[in-house]
Every structure is written in C-alpha cells, then in structure tokens.
C-alpha cells in the first residue's frame, strides 16, 4: 500500500533561515505528489505538485520541492523563513490507480521564531 511519511512532527526555525520539511513516500511507480499548507482554523492550500515533469518543482510563497526517486523523497524547502510561514504542512500522494483518493501524511508543524 502507498504511504507518505513526514519525518518530523515539529520543525522550529528562526526568521530568515532556511526551511526543510522532510517527506518520504512509498510507491512502486512514479507518483503524483503534493505539498499543502494549513494555517490555524483554515482550509488546506496547495503549495506545489509533482506530476512526473521536472523533478524540481517551484510553488507559491517561495517554496520548492525536489523529487528524488532514488531516495523516495519529496522534501519541501524555502531559502528564508518568514513569520507568516508558521503553519501545518502536509505531504500528500495520490493513491495508486485512483483519480480521486489522496493519502495524507501526518503533518509537520512549522514554528518560526522572531
């Protein structure tokens, strides 16, 4: 069965420093992968998506992620954290053979210190 594992439940960075949120997936083929962000009491917003085109995917708000098949990873990065980046981040994979079902990671809460 497919799954995604977010390796850190909490990540804390200082404002202006780089952000790295780690995600590993399990899949026997090239998956569709996504990163979503959720601010408190808000819906989920799509940050970026990978669908087997370029392995380095650029998203909104300065975030990007790199698909590494050899490492089965899809880590999310940002060069410089902003206070407004503090939120919960979800790594998501499309379920094999499904056009509708998404499998969500458990989430990583990003804290940004001033």
């Amino acid at each position: 069965a497919q799954s995604v594992t977010q390796l850190d439940s909490h990540v804390s960075v200082s404002e202006g420093t780089p952000v790295l949120l780690r995600c590993n997936y399990s899949s026997s083929y090239s998956p569709s992968l996504f990163w979503y962000v959720q601010h408190p009491n808000k819906g989920l917003q799509l940050l970026l998506k990978y669908t087997s085109a370029a392995t380095l995917v650029k998203g909104i708000n300065g975030f990007e992620a790199e698909f590494k098949k050899s490492e089965t990873s899809f880590h999310l990065t940002k060069p410089s954290a902003h206070m407004s980046d503090a939120a919960e981040y979800f790594c998501v994979v499309r379920a094999l053979g499904s056009s509708y079902k998404l499998i969500f990671g458990s989430g990583t809460r990003l804290l940004v210190r001033p």
Binding site: G43, Q45, F90, Y100
Partner: protein, 115 residues
C-alpha cells in the same frame, strides 16, 4: 477563477441534534467533490466523494450522509449527532477528467463542536 465556499464557519450543536453543512463551488463545471473530517491533532479522513449529481461514494461507515442535489453543491448531513462527530470539516473539489493532475482544492472549513 474557481472558489469554494463552506458554511457555517463554526457550529455548536447538542448531541442528538441534526446537522447540515453546505459546500458550493464557483467557476467550474462538473467537479469532483469531497468531504473530509480533521479531528483534533489528527490527519484528514475522507468521508465522501462525488463524481456527479446524485452520485455519492462513502469511504467509511459512520453517522453521516452526503448529498449532491446540484452540480456544484455538496451537503453533509446527520440525523443525530454524536460527540465523536466533533471536528473540522473540509469540502474540496478537483477538476473532472484531468490528465496527470489530481490535486484537490479545499474550502475554508467548518468547525463543529458537539456538546
């Protein structure tokens, strides 16, 4: 551009009372529609999805039901709420018939507290 609305934003209901949450999508036609629940400190659980008017699939057996009376309207209901129904309910949509792109777009959510 497409937008998705949910209402109410917050709701406090007693145990045993009925529930109706509404979701509407603007700016697209024939979307796939979804209801998720997010319990406190937990991930997202897919409750229902719909590929067309009157077509509802349930992912988990529960105290809830869903209906799609119009193309861009999705309703989540319950006849009698349980304490365990408390949570954050999210509606989402995705384009129908996309090739290679399966992302879903989420609404702002409804916070339901059952007392």
């Amino acid at each position: 551009s497409q937008t998705i609305h949910q209402w109410p934003a917050t709701l406090v209901q007693p145990v045993g009372s009925p529930l109706s949450l509404e979701c509407t999508v603007e700016g697209t036609s024939n979307p796939n529609l979804y209801w998720y629940r997010q319990a406190a400190g937990r991930g997202l659980q897919l409750l229902f999805y719909s590929v067309g008017i009157g077509q509802i699939s349930s992912e988990v057996p529960q105290n809830l039901s869903a209906s799609r009376p119009q193309d861009r309207q999705f309703i989540l209901s319950s006849k009698k709420l349980l304490l365990s129904d408390s949570g954050f309910y999210l509606c989402a949509w995705s384009p129908r018939g996309t090739s290679g792109s399966y992302e879903q777009y989420f609404g702002p959510g409804t916070r339901l507290t059952v007392t």
